[in-house]
Symmetry: C2
Subunit: 175 residues, 2 copies
């Protein structure tokens, strides 16, 4: 049986997540504008979107994700070399964000964040990440990512198997 | 005193909204893909985004909108000639979507929709619309629209004053 290692969990903050991408929330806004005759505050431009490379264009999709079985065992990481990928939670549940730095995949450098229900994330192009890890029930996410002519050939998806598998102790984190 | 006219309210459906833009919800998806080792359904490409004209690029922002005072009186419509603008509600509240066809503004052609908390909208470039009309309390919306070099000069915003003002009878609609 393959052994596993425990990945500690930390709160998601813009500063800690900066090497991997953007945290999408009002608190991280550099600019807040009053518009609409004073009825709206626009928390402006919350993510560095990178969706136009090599004929790419932005897409809006909804991901409906079922939590993985417990104990939570992570076995696969992925990256999108040609574009950013943003997730914003729609179901009022927290979720997990598991990343590793761009470049050659380094399993020892993996980091796990606990995201609040009012925090989105935008993975920068090339950031290794686990696929969406819902908590607390089936959860929807609004996703803004790249569509492109070569997607069918897998040009914008690389995957790597973990060895050993990693686990996150959700009971320890009271999740 | 300026007189006003009552604008009837209808449910938001993809078919009724098609002349103005897209309804962003899972039910409107043309494609639903199983991804992430079966843990996620991707409701794919839910809006016709148009964000690249004349040096434009996509932005993600959060709009925090306060409901207008009642009786709800509409006095202003706007359009973005250079790009689409998508709204997805984040606060679990319904909201209003008020539009008029592209081209020369025709007040008699205005239409008001009631959007559910699980429905986003994407206004196509040039569609006349009222600014975001929250219901039920201060509401956040994730907004995907166009940033561009000429925005400061108002190149992507036209406004028109209504004459007479229009009202929506929210009590009649039990809102």
């Amino acid at each position: 049986m393959m052994s596993s290692r425990i990945l500690p969990l930390q709160p998601l903050t813009a500063a800690a997540f900066a090497p991997y991408g953007d945290v999408i929330d009002c608190a991280s806004a550099k600019e807040a504008l009053s518009i609409n005759e004073g009825h709206t505050t626009r928390f402006h431009d919350l993510a560095a979107l990178d969706l136009g490379r090599e004929g790419g264009h932005p897409l809006i999709s909804i991901f409906r994700s079922t939590p993985k079985a417990r104990p939570l065992r992570l076995e696969l990481m992925e990256r999108h070399p040609l574009g950013s990928q943003a997730f914003y939670p729609l179901s009022g549940n927290p979720y997990l964000v598991v990343v590793a730095p761009k470049g050659l995949f380094d399993q020892k450098a993996m980091v796990a964040f606990l995201a609040r229900p009012d925090q989105g994330v935008n993975y920068h192009a090339g950031t290794w990440h686990h696929y969406s890890l819902a908590l607390g029930g089936v959860s929807d996410f609004l996703v803004i990512d790249r569509g492109g002519p070569k997607d069918a050939a897998g040009a914008n998806l690389d995957e790597v198997r973990l060895d050993p598998a990693m686990t996150i102790d959700l009971e320890e984190a009271e999740l």
